[in-house]
Symmetry: C2
Subunit: 156 residues, 2 copies
């Protein structure tokens, strides 16, 4: 599975990142991380909970949810955008792209013709009916950056 390969100088192992952030290595966390690493899709907290219960019948949903949020906070996993749950509506039906602040969650539209024309690989356009495409930039917006600079404190 060509696992840890792109570490690129950053400690991206479970144990390492936990130590870095003073998180204890608990059986629950270990199990949740292990399960996640075996997922190729984007499981919800509920899915992880139901899976992990087969191994840890006593684990609670709250632990799973908190653990996932913790993992995301330390950069061990990512939270992907989806259209489930709380929905956001966009009155702009023209092709445009998004700037997504990963701190405050704000999404800002922008247009950039250079992005409109990117070519979709044939292997994909053969299999899927391409309706549209969008570039999403994950950023920290000026306001959040300021707040971070102001309230700068070690993550512990």
């Amino acid at each position: 599975m060509a696992d840890v390969k792109h570490s690129a100088g950053r400690q991206d192992s479970f144990a390492g990142l936990c130590r870095e952030h003073n998180l204890k290595i608990t059986p629950q966390r270990t199990a949740i991380y292990g399960l996640l690493k075996g997922c190729t899709d984007h499981p919800s907290a509920d899915y992880v909970y139901r899976q992990i219960r087969q191994e840890f019948p006593n684990i609670s949903f709250e632990t799973v949810n908190r653990t996932l949020l913790t993992f995301a906070a330390i950069g061990l996993i990512a939270i992907v955008e989806s259209t489930a749950g709380v929905r956001r509506f966009d009155p702009d039906m023209e092709s445009h792209h998004h700037i997504h602040c990963i701190r405050c969650g704000t999404i800002i539209d922008f247009r950039h013709e250079g992005f409109d024309g990117i070519a979709v690989p044939e292997s994909l356009s053969e299999k899927y009916s391409i309706i549209g495409k969008r570039v999403v930039l994950h950023v920290i917006c000026p306001r959040c950056r300021q707040q971070e600079a102001a309230g700068m404190q070690p993550p512990g």
Copy 2:
């Protein structure tokens, strides 16, 4: 505000699309659409509700929510992905892109080096701290396409 300009042959006026789909033009729908068109961000149903109540004190949240979903269904507005509410977690922290089926909501990862290298306009990278970027393809997946073909029926 350079409004209706790119109609591109498609009937994208509120009244036109409503007629096309046999939806009645009610004051509520008109007001909701008008409010949306003035939004440059991506309001939630709750935000729209609170705004619209200043004009229609008697409108209910359910009407707002249903109307928004209806608008999205007929292609008058779009639903954008967000990380609010129901979350999906991604154990894959390497740069990758997403195929998002707009029917079933499934999100599939894919890698494509051609997408990794797209250049962010300087005007943006100056203002925002770019953490990463991702191309999201909006598609109809083979399974949903089959179902559509099978159950083909007019939207009325």
